[in-house]
């Protein structure tokens, strides 16, 4: 394992410290916890919290700020945080209007956020939760706990965050977040594995000429391994799966081409070139495109494509102001 770290046990700690030192205008650390909160707490709106294992930077701390999250809780790399930091964060950011927890659909995340939510509820804090499950690679069949939450989560942060800034109620913000979840679909692919620092060895093996199709954001296996193809063919496959899952015909969409951490912008743009062409061909109108690192998987070379079907409300909220470390809309 080769990484720019000091000590595998200090990775999360030093990452958070570095983030806060770089962007004190956006975030501050909750003392003693692996939690970042908005530098200036905003009252009178529903507070939003998200989080999960570390290793997905800039998610989730990079999306804390005006128009998006109020707190991000970081667990150990690829490990759900325990209820302790989530509960402390809930107490810190809670307003009279309540808190919405945006949780990615993983067994650990769901259980830990639920336990923390129960503790906060016992303190009289109004807590609601949505669970993001945008990954079309794994079926929500009887064999699974449902689909995984991946890069589409960023659209939930953006749009629910904008809704909260309007002063909407907890129920309204939750309903809007759920609308995003119901209309967002993602699928990813990878050509190299990633190494959890504390584990020291790659999470999976893959031959030089192979790709893992439908990869998860923790390097979990996807649907199958296949011989590497030109990226246009890979994009076609990802879009086939996404478009088969939800009817986007004639709709306007937001597109996200997201790097898994090790894929350079050049390759992301090459992928997006095909995404845009295929969508044009299929009669899907691209309203706005996001290309870059949003939900990474350490140093994994891979990318995902996300489509969000928009209506007037979602378009307006997508265009509303956001000012965070990793996403700015003015």
């Amino acid at each position: 394992m080769k990484k720019f770290i000091n000590d595998v046990n200090l990775v999360e700690e030093q990452m958070i410290e570095g983030m806060v030192k770089a962007y004190p205008q956006y975030v501050k650390r909750l003392p003693g916890q692996t939690v970042v909160v908005r530098a200036n707490k905003k009252e009178g709106k529903v507070a939003l919290i998200s989080g999960g294992g570390s290793g997905h930077e800039p998610a989730h701390g990079g999306f804390v700020g005006e128009g998006m999250l109020d707190a991000a809780v970081a667990g150990a790399v690829f490990t759900s945080p325990s209820p302790e930091p989530i509960y402390e964060a809930l107490k810190e950011i809670a307003t009279d209007k309540g808190v919405l927890m945006i949780v990615k659909n993983y067994t650990g995340d769901v259980m830990n956020f639920e336990m923390a939510g129960e503790m906060a509820d016992a303190d009289g804090i109004k807590v609601a939760q949505v669970v993001v499950n945008d990954d079309v690679a794994v079926d929500g069949s009887l064999y699974t706990v449902g689909r995984r939450g991946v890069a589409g989560t960023i659209f939930v942060h953006k749009i629910a965050g904008a809704k909260a800034e309007t002063g909407a109620s907890l129920e309204e913000v939750q309903a809007t977040a759920q609308k995003v979840i119901d209309n967002v679909r993602t699928m990813g692919v990878a050509i190299t594995p990633c190494t959890v620092p504390a584990a020291g060895t790659p999470g999976f093996e893959i031959a030089d000429d192979e790709m893992e199709v439908g990869i998860g954001i923790h390097g979990e296996p996807g649907t199958h391994k296949a011989k590497l193809e030109p990226v246009d063919s890979i994009v076609d496959h990802l879009l086939d799966k996404i478009l088969a899952d939800l009817d986007f015909t004639g709709s306007e969409v937001a597109v996200m081409v997201n790097s898994s951490g090790g894929t350079p912008a050049m390759e992301l743009f090459i992928a997006n070139n095909r995404v845009a062409d295929v969508l044009a061909e299929k009669g899907v109108k691209v309203y706005k495109t996001f290309v870059g690192e949003y939900m990474t998987s350490l140093e994994m070379q891979g990318f995902s494509v996300t489509l969000l079907k928009l209506d007037d409300e979602l378009k307006e909220l997508l265009d509303a102001k956001a000012d965070t470390i990793a996403l700015k809309v003015f």
Binding site: A76, E84, G108, M111, T201, G203
Partner: protein, 207 residues
């Protein structure tokens, strides 16, 4: 009968065993999960072991609850809330006892299992720790009813837990991150069932 000092000693040994096997457990988890089971559990037990000086002379309920709090608050992942809830429920059942026998242990294990089922919304046959826990409990009860021999009962439980781990190799995961693999999860043992079996092994070897 086992007194509170012995329970504390066993809990520390369980922690040491998990620490010793953390890479093995993580390796199992790498194959079908997210590769953190051993590392996370070791962190939780490390926190528990740091609290041992305060637990000297405390009742068995307090010891098990302390383990439950460490696991709930420090492990994260899925195993944190599951094992955390299991030990908290075990502690609640043990209460202020300062000595327990096999009949108490059966009740404690039953409570732990109920905790896991409740928290994980899980049943047996889903390739989880329950596939080792439930057969172990059944075997302990059966052997104890037949022979009234606590040691033999625990050994029967351990054998059943080991069989349970083998059984997890043959089934498709339907809970946790391994479930995303579908049929590709067949052939691999469940890390949670494995760590539970290690705990039971330590108990077996030390009473």
């Amino acid at each position: 009968m086992v007194n509170q000092d012995k329970v504390l000693e066993i809990m520390v040994k369980i922690g040491e065993k998990i620490e010793e096997d953390k890479l093995f457990l993580t390796e199992l988890d790498n194959v079908i999960g997210d590769g953190d089971h051993g590392i996370n559990m070791a962190r939780g037990f490390g926190d528990f072991i740091s609290k041992v000086p305060d637990l000297q002379g405390k009742d068995i309920g307090a010891i098990l609850k302390a383990a439950g709090m460490s696991l709930t608050m420090k492990v994260g992942g899925a195993s944190g809330p599951l094992y955390g809830t299991a030990y908290l429920q075990a502690g609640k059942t043990a209460g202020d006892k300062t000595e327990i026998g096999i009949e108490d242990f059966i009740q404690i294990l039953e409570a732990a299992i109920e905790g896991v089922k409740m928290r994980g919304k899980a049943v047996t046959g889903e390739k989880t720790m329950l596939d080792a826990m439930v057969p172990a409990l059944d075997a302990i009860k059966e052997e104890y009813d037949a022979s009234k021999d606590a040691k033999k009962a625990l050994e029967a439980g351990l054998a059943a837990a080991k069989e349970g781990v083998e059984y997890t190799k043959t089934i498709i995961a339907t809970k946790g991150r391994a479930s995303y693999l579908g049929e590709r999860s067949i052939g691999h043992q469940d890390p949670g069932a494995t760590s539970f079996t290690e705990m039971l092994q330590v108990i077996c070897e030390n009473v």
